[in-house]
Protein backbone atom coordinates (compact mmCIF):
# COMPACT_ATOMS: atom_id res chain seq x y z
CA UNK A 1 0.00 0.00 0.00
CA UNK A 2 1.13 3.51 -0.72
CA UNK A 3 2.70 5.32 2.23
CA UNK A 4 0.54 7.72 4.20
CA UNK A 5 1.75 11.27 4.79
CA UNK A 6 2.80 10.21 8.26
CA UNK A 7 4.73 7.20 6.97
CA UNK A 8 6.56 9.38 4.49
CA UNK A 9 7.54 11.67 7.34
CA UNK A 10 8.61 8.67 9.47
CA UNK A 11 10.76 7.25 6.67
CA UNK A 12 12.45 10.60 6.11
CA UNK A 13 13.08 10.88 9.84
CA UNK A 14 15.30 7.77 9.63
CA UNK A 15 17.73 9.83 7.58
CA UNK A 16 18.23 12.25 10.44
CA UNK A 17 21.43 12.16 12.45
CA UNK A 18 22.16 13.52 15.87
CA UNK A 19 23.24 17.13 15.60
CA UNK A 20 21.74 17.75 12.18
CA UNK A 21 20.60 21.24 11.18
CA UNK A 22 17.51 20.62 9.05
CA UNK A 23 15.30 22.74 6.83
CA UNK A 24 11.83 21.29 6.34
CA UNK A 25 9.62 22.55 3.55
CA UNK A 26 5.93 23.28 3.84
CA UNK A 27 3.51 20.29 3.85
CA UNK A 28 4.66 16.72 4.45
CA UNK A 29 8.28 17.73 5.19
CA UNK A 30 7.03 19.70 8.20
CA UNK A 31 5.68 16.47 9.68
CA UNK A 32 9.19 15.02 9.87
CA UNK A 33 9.72 17.05 13.02
CA UNK A 34 7.17 14.82 14.76
CA UNK A 35 9.25 11.67 14.20
CA UNK A 36 12.73 12.61 15.34
CA UNK A 37 14.07 9.36 16.86
CA UNK A 38 14.28 9.19 20.64
CA UNK A 39 17.58 10.37 22.10
CA UNK A 40 18.45 12.30 18.95
CA UNK A 41 18.60 16.07 18.63
CA UNK A 42 18.04 17.97 15.42
CA UNK A 43 17.67 21.71 15.03
CA UNK A 44 15.19 23.18 12.59
CA UNK A 45 16.17 26.07 10.35
CA UNK A 46 13.42 28.25 9.01
CA UNK A 47 14.55 30.38 6.09
CA UNK A 48 12.85 33.56 7.26
CA UNK A 49 15.66 33.80 9.81
CA UNK A 50 15.33 31.28 12.62
CA UNK A 51 17.51 28.41 13.78
CA UNK A 52 16.17 26.31 16.64
CA UNK A 53 12.48 26.48 15.84
CA UNK A 54 10.18 25.13 18.56
CA UNK A 55 6.55 23.99 18.53
CA UNK A 56 3.53 26.19 17.94
CA UNK A 57 2.96 28.63 20.81
CA UNK A 58 0.26 28.36 23.41
CA UNK A 59 -2.37 31.11 23.28
CA UNK A 60 -0.38 32.86 25.98
CA UNK A 61 2.88 32.64 24.02
CA UNK A 62 1.39 33.71 20.68
CA UNK A 63 3.48 36.50 19.12
CA UNK A 64 3.01 38.07 15.70
CA UNK A 65 6.76 38.73 15.53
CA UNK A 66 7.63 35.05 15.90
CA UNK A 67 6.82 33.10 12.74
CA UNK A 68 8.35 30.44 10.51
CA UNK A 69 8.83 30.38 6.75
CA UNK A 70 5.28 29.05 6.36
CA UNK A 71 4.15 32.22 8.15
CA UNK A 72 2.87 30.12 11.04
CA UNK A 73 3.32 31.37 14.59
CA UNK A 74 6.05 29.34 16.31
CA UNK A 75 8.37 29.40 19.32
CA UNK A 76 12.11 29.03 19.84
CA UNK A 77 13.97 26.34 21.76
CA UNK A 78 16.91 27.02 24.10
CA UNK A 79 20.00 27.68 21.99
CA UNK A 80 18.01 29.20 19.14
CA UNK A 81 19.26 32.13 17.10
CA UNK A 82 17.34 34.66 15.03
CA UNK A 83 18.88 36.61 12.17
CA UNK A 84 18.25 38.43 8.91
CA UNK A 85 17.13 36.84 5.64
CA UNK A 86 20.58 37.52 4.18
CA UNK A 87 22.22 35.61 7.02
CA UNK A 88 19.65 32.84 6.73
CA UNK A 89 20.39 32.31 3.07
CA UNK A 90 24.11 32.65 3.67
CA UNK A 91 23.67 29.50 5.79
CA UNK A 92 21.57 27.82 3.13
CA UNK A 93 23.54 28.87 0.05
CA UNK A 94 26.82 28.25 1.85
CA UNK A 95 25.93 24.62 2.47
CA UNK A 96 25.76 24.81 6.25
CA UNK A 97 22.36 23.11 6.54
CA UNK A 98 22.84 19.33 6.88
CA UNK A 99 19.55 18.18 5.41
CA UNK A 100 16.80 19.80 3.39
CA UNK A 101 13.44 18.12 2.84
CA UNK A 102 11.02 19.52 0.31
CA UNK A 103 8.21 18.57 -2.04
CA UNK A 104 8.17 18.57 -5.85
CA UNK A 105 5.94 18.23 -8.91
CA UNK A 106 8.58 16.34 -10.90
CA UNK A 107 12.13 15.05 -10.61
CA UNK A 108 14.25 13.47 -13.32
CA UNK A 109 17.22 11.17 -13.75
CA UNK A 110 19.61 14.12 -14.01
CA UNK A 111 18.66 15.24 -10.53
CA UNK A 112 16.60 18.13 -11.85
CA UNK A 113 13.62 19.24 -9.81
CA UNK A 114 10.46 21.15 -10.77
CA UNK A 115 8.42 22.30 -7.83
CA UNK A 116 7.19 25.85 -8.24
CA UNK A 117 5.56 26.63 -11.56
CA UNK A 118 2.91 25.04 -13.70
CA UNK A 119 2.58 27.05 -16.91
CA UNK A 120 -0.96 28.25 -17.42
CA UNK A 121 -1.62 28.33 -13.71
CA UNK A 122 -0.95 31.41 -11.62
CA UNK A 123 2.66 31.49 -10.57
CA UNK A 124 3.04 32.57 -6.98
CA UNK A 125 6.79 32.30 -6.86
CA UNK A 126 9.66 30.10 -5.80
CA UNK A 127 10.11 31.55 -2.34
CA UNK A 128 13.28 30.05 -0.94
CA UNK A 129 13.06 26.75 -2.81
CA UNK A 130 15.65 27.58 -5.49
CA UNK A 131 18.17 28.65 -2.86
CA UNK A 132 17.47 25.54 -0.81
CA UNK A 133 18.02 23.09 -3.68
CA UNK A 134 21.07 24.96 -4.97
CA UNK A 135 22.67 25.31 -1.55
CA UNK A 136 22.12 21.93 0.08
CA UNK A 137 24.28 18.93 -0.54
CA UNK A 138 21.85 16.58 1.16
CA UNK A 139 18.28 16.94 -0.07
CA UNK A 140 15.35 14.56 0.21
CA UNK A 141 12.44 15.21 -2.11
CA UNK A 142 9.10 13.91 -0.91
CA UNK A 143 6.30 13.54 -3.46
CA UNK A 144 3.68 11.22 -4.80
CA UNK A 145 5.11 8.81 -7.33
CA UNK A 146 2.44 9.49 -9.92
CA UNK A 147 -0.38 11.94 -10.48
CA UNK A 148 -3.96 11.03 -9.67
CA UNK A 149 -4.50 9.85 -13.21
CA UNK A 150 -1.42 7.67 -13.05
CA UNK A 151 1.16 9.79 -14.84
CA UNK A 152 4.66 9.34 -13.48
CA UNK A 153 6.36 12.27 -11.78
CA UNK A 154 9.76 10.57 -11.93
CA UNK A 155 10.83 11.41 -15.42
CA UNK A 156 13.58 11.07 -17.94
CA UNK A 157 13.48 14.83 -18.18
CA UNK A 158 11.35 17.29 -16.25
CA UNK A 159 8.63 18.91 -18.37
CA UNK A 160 7.92 21.81 -16.01
CA UNK A 161 10.20 24.80 -15.47
CA UNK A 162 12.96 23.79 -13.07
CA UNK A 163 13.56 24.84 -9.50
CA UNK A 164 17.11 23.55 -9.69
CA UNK A 165 19.35 21.61 -12.07
CA UNK A 166 21.28 18.50 -11.10
CA UNK A 167 20.86 18.92 -7.38
CA UNK A 168 18.62 16.04 -6.28
CA UNK A 169 20.01 12.67 -5.23
CA UNK A 170 17.30 11.21 -2.96
CA UNK A 171 13.58 10.89 -3.59
CA UNK A 172 10.95 9.43 -1.32
CA UNK A 173 7.57 8.85 -2.92
CA UNK A 174 4.50 7.21 -1.53
CA UNK A 175 5.68 4.03 -3.27
CA UNK A 176 9.44 3.93 -2.97
CA UNK A 177 12.76 5.27 -1.80
CA UNK A 178 14.97 6.02 -4.79
CA UNK A 179 18.39 7.51 -5.29
CA UNK A 180 19.66 9.21 -8.41
CA UNK A 181 23.00 7.92 -9.63
CA UNK A 182 24.71 8.34 -13.00
CA UNK A 183 21.61 9.46 -14.83
CA UNK A 184 19.20 6.86 -13.50
CA UNK A 185 16.87 6.34 -10.62
CA UNK A 186 17.96 3.44 -8.43
CA UNK A 187 15.22 1.69 -6.50
CA UNK A 188 16.40 1.29 -2.92
CA UNK A 189 13.27 0.44 -0.94
CA UNK A 190 9.62 -0.09 -1.65
CA UNK A 191 6.59 0.80 0.44
CA UNK A 192 5.04 -2.13 2.37
CA UNK A 193 3.00 -4.29 0.01
CA UNK A 194 3.97 -2.31 -3.10
CA UNK A 195 5.43 -4.48 -5.83
CA UNK A 196 8.53 -3.72 -7.81
CA UNK A 197 6.36 -4.10 -10.91
CA UNK A 198 4.07 -1.27 -9.83
CA UNK A 199 7.03 1.00 -9.18
CA UNK A 200 8.56 0.12 -12.53
CA UNK A 201 5.25 0.80 -14.24
CA UNK A 202 4.90 4.19 -12.58
CA UNK A 203 8.49 5.37 -13.14
CA UNK A 204 8.95 7.05 -16.51
CA UNK A 205 12.66 7.82 -16.10
CA UNK A 206 15.36 5.16 -16.44
CA UNK A 207 15.22 2.97 -13.37
CA UNK A 208 17.76 0.49 -12.06
CA UNK A 209 16.18 -2.27 -9.98
CA UNK A 210 18.62 -4.22 -7.82
CA UNK A 211 18.10 -7.95 -7.29
CA UNK A 212 16.77 -7.35 -3.85
CA UNK A 213 14.58 -4.36 -3.02
CA UNK A 214 13.81 -4.36 0.69
CA UNK A 215 10.35 -3.44 1.90
CA UNK A 216 10.09 -0.56 4.34
CA UNK A 217 8.86 -1.45 7.78
CA UNK A 218 7.11 0.90 10.18
Amino acid sequence: MALSREQIAKRVARELKDGYYVNLGIGIPTLVANYVPEGMEVMLQSENGLLGMGPFPTEAELDADMINAGKQTVTTLPGASIFSSAESFAMIRGGHVDLTVLGAFEVDVQGNIASWMIPGKLVKGMGGAMDLVAGADNIIVTMTHASKNGESKLLEQCTLPLTGAGCIKKVLTDLAWLEIENGTFVLKERAPGVSVEEIVAKTAGRLVVPDHVPEMTF
Binding site: D63, A64, A165
Partner: protein, 233 residues
Protein backbone atom coordinates in the same frame (compact mmCIF):
# COMPACT_ATOMS: atom_id res chain seq x y z
CA UNK B 1 16.59 67.97 12.97
CA UNK B 2 20.11 68.69 14.12
CA UNK B 3 23.18 66.52 14.14
CA UNK B 4 22.26 62.87 14.08
CA UNK B 5 18.71 63.15 15.31
CA UNK B 6 16.74 61.27 12.65
CA UNK B 7 13.32 61.61 14.25
CA UNK B 8 10.63 63.20 12.09
CA UNK B 9 7.33 64.50 13.35
CA UNK B 10 4.82 62.93 11.01
CA UNK B 11 4.32 60.19 8.46
CA UNK B 12 3.97 62.90 5.80
CA UNK B 13 7.47 64.07 6.64
CA UNK B 14 8.72 60.50 6.83
CA UNK B 15 7.80 59.78 3.21
CA UNK B 16 8.25 63.27 1.77
CA UNK B 17 9.83 63.18 -1.67
CA UNK B 18 8.36 59.87 -2.75
CA UNK B 19 7.13 60.33 -6.28
CA UNK B 20 5.50 58.49 -9.17
CA UNK B 21 7.69 55.87 -10.81
CA UNK B 22 10.08 55.46 -7.91
CA UNK B 23 11.48 52.21 -6.55
CA UNK B 24 10.69 51.36 -2.93
CA UNK B 25 12.43 48.54 -1.06
CA UNK B 26 10.32 47.23 1.80
CA UNK B 27 11.27 45.03 4.74
CA UNK B 28 9.00 42.28 6.02
CA UNK B 29 8.21 38.62 5.45
CA UNK B 30 4.56 37.86 4.89
CA UNK B 31 2.86 40.23 7.32
CA UNK B 32 5.66 39.93 9.88
CA UNK B 33 7.86 42.95 10.42
CA UNK B 34 6.24 45.08 7.74
CA UNK B 35 6.33 48.89 7.90
CA UNK B 36 2.56 49.03 7.96
CA UNK B 37 2.16 52.73 8.68
CA UNK B 38 4.69 53.77 6.07
CA UNK B 39 2.80 51.65 3.55
CA UNK B 40 -0.44 53.35 4.62
CA UNK B 41 1.25 56.70 4.07
CA UNK B 42 2.25 55.67 0.54
CA UNK B 43 -1.40 54.85 -0.06
CA UNK B 44 -2.47 58.25 1.21
CA UNK B 45 0.08 59.95 -1.03
CA UNK B 46 -1.56 58.35 -4.09
CA UNK B 47 1.80 58.04 -5.84
CA UNK B 48 1.65 55.69 -8.82
CA UNK B 49 3.76 53.45 -11.04
CA UNK B 50 5.84 52.29 -8.14
CA UNK B 51 8.31 49.45 -8.34
CA UNK B 52 8.17 47.64 -5.02
CA UNK B 53 10.96 45.32 -3.92
CA UNK B 54 9.67 43.10 -1.14
CA UNK B 55 9.62 39.38 -0.46
CA UNK B 56 5.80 39.38 -0.58
CA UNK B 57 2.97 41.75 -1.41
CA UNK B 58 0.81 41.55 1.69
CA UNK B 59 -2.78 40.34 1.57
CA UNK B 60 -6.09 41.85 0.53
CA UNK B 61 -6.57 44.91 2.69
CA UNK B 62 -3.32 44.73 4.66
CA UNK B 63 0.36 45.38 4.13
CA UNK B 64 1.51 46.13 0.59
CA UNK B 65 -1.80 44.68 -0.61
CA UNK B 66 -3.48 48.04 0.08
CA UNK B 67 -1.31 49.68 -2.59
CA UNK B 68 -3.00 47.46 -5.16
CA UNK B 69 -6.42 48.94 -4.42
CA UNK B 70 -5.69 52.14 -6.33
CA UNK B 71 -3.25 50.42 -8.69
CA UNK B 72 -0.24 52.25 -7.28
CA UNK B 73 2.15 49.38 -8.01
CA UNK B 74 3.43 48.87 -11.54
CA UNK B 75 5.99 46.20 -10.76
CA UNK B 76 6.77 43.84 -7.88
CA UNK B 77 10.19 42.26 -7.36
CA UNK B 78 9.44 39.41 -4.95
CA UNK B 79 10.01 35.76 -4.22
CA UNK B 80 6.42 34.87 -3.41
CA UNK B 81 3.26 36.79 -4.24
CA UNK B 82 -0.38 36.31 -4.94
CA UNK B 83 -1.69 35.70 -1.45
CA UNK B 84 -4.52 38.03 -2.41
CA UNK B 85 -7.19 38.12 -5.09
CA UNK B 86 -6.55 41.68 -6.22
CA UNK B 87 -2.94 40.85 -6.97
CA UNK B 88 -3.99 37.91 -9.13
CA UNK B 89 -6.55 39.98 -10.98
CA UNK B 90 -4.16 42.83 -11.79
CA UNK B 91 -1.47 40.38 -12.83
CA UNK B 92 -3.77 38.50 -15.19
CA UNK B 93 -5.09 41.75 -16.65
CA UNK B 94 -1.57 42.92 -17.33
CA UNK B 95 -1.80 45.92 -15.02
CA UNK B 96 0.92 44.60 -12.78
CA UNK B 97 4.31 43.17 -13.63
CA UNK B 98 6.10 40.65 -11.42
CA UNK B 99 9.80 39.83 -11.40
CA UNK B 100 10.10 36.66 -9.38
CA UNK B 101 13.43 36.36 -7.61
CA UNK B 102 14.60 33.53 -5.34
CA UNK B 103 14.29 34.56 -1.72
CA UNK B 104 18.00 34.24 -0.89
CA UNK B 105 19.00 36.01 -4.07
CA UNK B 106 16.57 38.81 -3.25
CA UNK B 107 18.06 39.23 0.22
CA UNK B 108 21.58 39.21 -1.21
CA UNK B 109 20.66 41.70 -3.96
CA UNK B 110 19.50 44.15 -1.31
CA UNK B 111 22.56 43.58 0.84
CA UNK B 112 24.86 43.94 -2.17
CA UNK B 113 23.06 47.12 -3.20
CA UNK B 114 23.70 48.65 0.17
CA UNK B 115 27.26 47.35 0.36
CA UNK B 116 28.52 48.68 -2.97
CA UNK B 117 28.71 45.26 -4.61
CA UNK B 118 27.12 45.76 -8.04
CA UNK B 119 26.84 42.06 -8.89
CA UNK B 120 27.63 38.57 -7.60
CA UNK B 121 27.52 34.97 -8.76
CA UNK B 122 25.21 32.39 -7.24
CA UNK B 123 24.28 28.80 -8.09
CA UNK B 124 20.69 29.59 -7.12
CA UNK B 125 18.43 29.60 -10.17
CA UNK B 126 20.92 28.08 -12.60
CA UNK B 127 19.03 26.03 -15.19
CA UNK B 128 15.70 27.63 -14.24
CA UNK B 129 13.63 30.45 -15.73
CA UNK B 130 15.41 32.78 -13.30
CA UNK B 131 18.64 32.30 -15.26
CA UNK B 132 17.17 33.52 -18.55
CA UNK B 133 19.30 36.26 -20.06
CA UNK B 134 21.85 36.06 -17.28
CA UNK B 135 25.50 35.24 -17.67
CA UNK B 136 26.51 31.73 -16.62
CA UNK B 137 30.01 31.03 -15.37
CA UNK B 138 31.63 28.04 -13.73
CA UNK B 139 33.33 28.31 -10.37
CA UNK B 140 34.69 25.21 -8.63
CA UNK B 141 33.30 23.12 -11.47
CA UNK B 142 29.76 24.29 -10.95
CA UNK B 143 27.71 26.71 -13.07
CA UNK B 144 26.61 29.93 -11.40
CA UNK B 145 24.59 32.87 -12.67
CA UNK B 146 25.40 36.55 -12.39
CA UNK B 147 22.90 38.54 -10.34
CA UNK B 148 22.88 42.32 -10.07
CA UNK B 149 22.27 44.25 -6.87
CA UNK B 150 19.23 46.38 -6.09
CA UNK B 151 18.97 49.88 -4.69
CA UNK B 152 15.82 51.86 -4.09
CA UNK B 153 14.86 55.51 -4.15
CA UNK B 154 13.31 54.78 -0.78
CA UNK B 155 13.65 51.94 1.68
CA UNK B 156 10.89 51.44 4.23
CA UNK B 157 11.75 49.48 7.32
CA UNK B 158 10.00 48.26 10.47
CA UNK B 159 12.13 48.11 13.62
CA UNK B 160 11.36 47.41 17.23
CA UNK B 161 13.44 49.97 19.12
CA UNK B 162 15.70 52.67 17.83
CA UNK B 163 17.63 55.49 19.39
CA UNK B 164 17.23 58.99 18.00
CA UNK B 165 20.41 58.52 15.95
CA UNK B 166 18.67 55.75 13.99
CA UNK B 167 20.41 52.74 15.54
CA UNK B 168 17.77 50.03 15.15
CA UNK B 169 17.05 46.74 16.92
CA UNK B 170 14.54 44.26 15.47
CA UNK B 171 12.29 41.95 17.45
CA UNK B 172 12.38 38.19 16.85
CA UNK B 173 11.67 37.09 13.28
CA UNK B 174 10.32 40.53 12.44
CA UNK B 175 13.94 41.16 11.51
CA UNK B 176 13.85 39.23 8.18
CA UNK B 177 14.52 41.53 5.19
CA UNK B 178 14.53 44.75 7.20
CA UNK B 179 18.29 45.10 7.84
CA UNK B 180 19.14 44.66 4.14
CA UNK B 181 16.35 46.98 3.03
CA UNK B 182 17.69 49.60 5.44
CA UNK B 183 21.07 49.65 3.68
CA UNK B 184 19.71 49.89 0.15
CA UNK B 185 17.58 53.02 0.06
CA UNK B 186 18.79 56.38 -1.19
CA UNK B 187 16.43 57.56 1.52
CA UNK B 188 15.84 55.02 4.28
CA UNK B 189 12.83 55.52 6.51
CA UNK B 190 12.42 53.43 9.65
CA UNK B 191 9.34 53.16 11.81
CA UNK B 192 9.64 51.61 15.25
CA UNK B 193 7.58 50.83 18.30
CA UNK B 194 9.80 52.78 20.65
CA UNK B 195 12.38 55.54 20.32
CA UNK B 196 15.00 55.80 23.04
CA UNK B 197 17.87 58.17 23.73
CA UNK B 198 21.36 57.55 22.27
CA UNK B 199 23.34 55.44 24.72
CA UNK B 200 20.39 53.32 25.84
CA UNK B 201 21.03 50.57 23.31
CA UNK B 202 24.09 48.33 23.65
CA UNK B 203 26.49 49.39 20.83
CA UNK B 204 27.42 45.76 20.14
CA UNK B 205 23.80 44.72 19.74
CA UNK B 206 22.62 47.16 17.06
CA UNK B 207 21.14 45.38 14.06
CA UNK B 208 21.07 48.45 11.79
CA UNK B 209 23.62 51.19 12.54
CA UNK B 210 22.24 54.70 12.25
CA UNK B 211 24.47 55.57 9.31
CA UNK B 212 21.95 53.80 7.07
CA UNK B 213 18.92 55.61 8.44
CA UNK B 214 17.69 58.98 7.18
CA UNK B 215 14.34 59.33 8.91
CA UNK B 216 12.87 57.71 11.99
CA UNK B 217 9.33 57.71 13.35
CA UNK B 218 7.52 56.03 16.20
CA UNK B 219 4.20 54.38 15.36
CA UNK B 220 1.68 51.91 16.65
CA UNK B 221 1.19 48.63 14.88
CA UNK B 222 -1.64 46.23 14.26
CA UNK B 223 0.74 43.31 13.53
CA UNK B 224 -1.76 41.05 11.84
CA UNK B 225 -1.02 37.30 11.98
CA UNK B 226 -1.23 35.40 8.70
CA UNK B 227 -1.21 31.79 9.97
CA UNK B 228 -2.38 31.66 13.56
CA UNK B 229 -1.10 28.29 14.75
CA UNK B 230 -1.32 27.43 18.45
CA UNK B 231 -1.05 24.37 20.63
CA UNK B 232 -2.99 23.67 23.80
CA UNK B 233 -1.11 24.74 26.90
Amino acid sequence: MAGFDKVVGSYEEAMAGLDNGMTVIAGGFGLCGIPENLIAQIKRMRVRDLTIVSNNCGIDGFGLGILLEDKQIRKMISSYVGENALFEKQLLEGELEVELTPQGTLAEKMRAGGAGIPAFYTATGYGTPVAEGKEVREFNGRPHILEQSIRGDFAIVKGWKADRYGNVVYRHTAQNFNPMAATAGKITVVEVEEIVEPGELDPTQIHTPGIYVDRLIQGSFEKRIEQRTVRSA
